[in-house]
């Protein structure tokens, strides 16, 4: 077995050159396919490309959320099915679709990839859908829901001294740009120790992103956001066997992605719950010089299956606007089970 960490072995220049997101709303009348049709058109327009220019697509979505088997087949109508395309799908956030596209571009025979993340969370009741995705023997039959998992992790993070209810409320107020910490702390618990402000909104929306290889990327935009590190790691599925006051998978992914090689200026973390941001800041050792979740993060809008991809998009925006180095984080599963770290850098 090789001791080499695959995440370090970036063999080609691959960059984010543009991305777009739909309006992020509590409830949309549009189907997921319609959302994708619109957002793919918008993302391509930014870099003056058409659907015919795309060599590879990878879509991230979830049948469980859509309530339709093979819903990703219907979503293919949004990518322009002619001429035939190399296409793939991940039943994960679009950030993992980006990971697959990045791997595919490493092969060197193609130049342009399109990745998306899309979800209509308002289609069903997340409280009832997510328990069915959990361990089918010990967790799902008890209906253990996302709020419960998050609350148990929040208590662990608080017990470890990484957060308290006040710092969590401050995080929520900063993310949403509104609210009074003392007033929020006086509200009832939704799931002790979580108040409503600690919890993400339910959001419908989609994001699309265009990746290009080195020379082509430089032709398309002035400052491509080059992916210089990308890695994801997972932990045991059952939180009974994990240290919930830590996120070792995030730490390993960040090391493999080369976080420590140079300072970063901004970090976009997929922290749907306020305590998750505080835990991730500690695990990633982000100091006061790093601007975290200037976008408002998942606490402001949480389009499930696109939330992680949007983090990579906002980090890329920092590079597009002249920044040098940014970190994006995406997560999947209960209590930060699986974590992806993407390092983006401007052209040297």
């Amino acid at each position: 077995m090789s001791a080499q960490t695959p995440g370090n072995a970036v063999s080609r220049d691959i960059a984010v050159v543009g991305w777009a997101q739909t309006e992020m709303v509590r409830h949309t009348d549009k189907s997921e396919t319609q959302l994708l049709m619109e957002v793919i058109t918008d993302a391509l327009a930014q870099v003056d490309l058409t659907r015919a220019d795309i060599d590879f697509t990878c879509l991230g979505s979830c049948d469980y959320i859509t309530g339709q088997a093979f819903s990703f087949v219907t979503n293919l109508d949004a990518i322009g099915a002619w001429p035939p395309k190399r296409d793939s799908h991940v039943e994960m956030d679009g950030a993992w679709a980006l990971y697959e596209a990045w791997l595919r571009l490493q092969e060197g025979d193609i130049e342009i990839a399109l990745v998306t993340g899309s979800g209509r969370s308002s289609t069903g009741d997340p409280t009832l859908i997510y328990p069915m995705e959990m361990d089918p023997y010990f967790l799902a039959p008890l209906g253990i829901d996302p709020l419960t998992f998050a609350a148990l992790q929040a208590r662990a993070v608080i017990s470890a001294g990484v957060a308290d209810e006040r710092s969590m409320a401050e995080t929520a107020v900063r993310a949403r740009g509104k609210g009074d910490v003392d007033a929020l702390l006086a509200t009832d618990y939704l799931r002790e120790p979580l108040h409503r402000h600690d919890v993400p909104p339910i959001t419908d929306g989609a994001a699309a992103m265009v990746l290009a290889t080195g020379t082509r990327a430089r032709q398309l935009v002035e400052r491509p956001a080059f992916i210089t590190g990308l890695d994801h790691r997972t932990e045991c599925h059952n939180p009974s066997f994990r240290a919930l006051d830590d996120s070792p998978s995030t730490r390993i992914a960040a090391q493999a992605a080369g976080l420590g090689d140079a300072p970063i200026e901004v970090a976009e973390l997929q922290a749907a719950f306020s305590h998750e941001e505080l835990l991730l800041r500690k695990v990633l050792e982000l100091d006061g010089n790093v601007v975290v979740n200037a976008s408002g993060g998942a606490l402001r809008s949480n389009p499930i299956m696109a939330t992680g991809l949007c983090r990579i998009g906002y980090a890329a925006n920092h590079i597009f606007r002249g920044g040098n180095r940014a970190l994006a984080h995406a997560t999947s599963g209960p209590c930060l089970q699986q974590n992806l770290i993407c390092i983006l850098e401007g052209p040297s």
């Binding site: 069903g124 069915m132 002790e192 994990r242």
Partner: protein, 328 residues
């Protein structure tokens, strides 16, 4: 404002349990809780593999509890229909005596004020136990286990499977084009949508061109003929499963509409036995009488609205070896 349809999807899973989870579930019917040894640790619930390395664990079971200590908890003020209790309760990590990892389960504590780290709890067993994690209804405060109702004893045989009946209700928007297509079918019209870019025509009310990825507005609507030729078909032999209503083999056919390039897929055939369907056969649309219920859904493929299927016209077959390739 789009119209929404509500649908409930049920998944009646039967899960095989394997040697480790099966042993745990069998023991539950005996009111015993098993962990599995892992070095100095005793993992509860038992795992087949080391959760850190993935290496297989020997089947060295240890009885734990049934009394335990609350390590952490959260309070559920408003339970969902999936939760084990119908009034406010706690979910808690409970470290059962003798275990080194906590079991996540419910505690019927009455109020959140009675919950604390270090609280001692005991199981409330279900009277009739079948080998599921909810054979333990919940845990209760104290060190005395309870049983709900009459105790009907342990499972006569080792438990090898468990039922898990998942059910989800969704509300999905129906594209306006689908509604217009269904409405036209009441007048016995097959509505098509012509893409302004590529000129291709689509039936079935999808509402966009998948080639050009553009939406097709009402201005793109065209009327299509209701007579055509079967290009290809499949005979589906129904497999029994919960919710299956078909019992006999049935046909799904693809029909190329006369004078167009439009193929409608997955169509039922009427007054045409499965073993008499042929490629090249001439068919005409069959419409429901107004009294018959209309399909209001927006699902993939099949007939729609008042269009219920296709029956032979009696005309001579179309002889064209390429016909069979037309399924879209």
């Amino acid at each position: 404002m789009a119209r929404f349809v509500e649908s409930t999807i049920a998944f009646p899973y039967k899960r095989s349990l394997g040697p480790v989870v099966g042993a745990f579930m069998t023991a539950l019917t005996e009111k015993r809780i098993l962990g599995i040894r892992h070095g100095q640790d005793v993992l509860v619930p038992p795992m087949e593999w080391n959760p850190t390395t993935g290496s297989e664990l020997a089947h060295d079971f240890v009885e734990v509890g049934p009394i335990g200590t609350v390590e952490s908890w959260t309070w559920v003020p408003t339970p969902s229909v999936q939760h084990p209790l119908h009034h406010a309760f706690a979910f808690a990590f409970i470290l059962l005596d003798g275990a080194t990892t906590p079991l996540l389960h419910a505690v019927d504590a009455g109020s959140s004020g009675r919950m604390f780290e270090g609280l001692r709890v005991a199981p409330r067993w279900r009277g009739t136990r079948v080998g599921r994690i909810d054979d333990i209804v919940c845990f209760v405060i104290g060190e005395v286990a309870e049983t709900d109702g009459e105790d009907t004893g342990s499972a006569p045989e080792p438990v090898q499977r468990m039922d898990y009946n998942a059910s989800i209700t969704y509300r999905n928007p129906v594209p306006a084009a689908t509604d217009r297509t269904v409405l036209a079918s009441r007048d016995h019209r097959i509505l098509g949508l012509r893409c302004p870019r590529c000129d291709r025509v689509y039936a079935g009310g999808r509402g966009y061109c998948p080639i050009d990825a553009v939406e097709l507005s009402p201005e793109c609507e065209v009327d299509l003929p209701s007579v055509g030729t079967i290009t290809n078909f499949a005979i589906v032999t129904p497999v029994p499963y919960p919710g299956q209503t078909e019992t006999e083999p049935f046909v799904r056919a693809f029909v190329l509409l006369d004078g167009t390039d439009v193929v409608v897929g997955y169509q039922p055939v009427i007054e045409l036995p499965a073993d008499e369907v042929r490629v090249g056969q001439r068919v005409a649309a069959v419409w429901a009488s107004p009294a018959e219920e209309l399909d209001q859904g927006g699902g993939m493929g099949g007939a729609w609205g008042s269009l219920v299927g296709w029956m032979p016209t009696g005309e001579p077959d179309v002889i064209d070896p390429d016909l069979v390739n037309r399924i879209f």
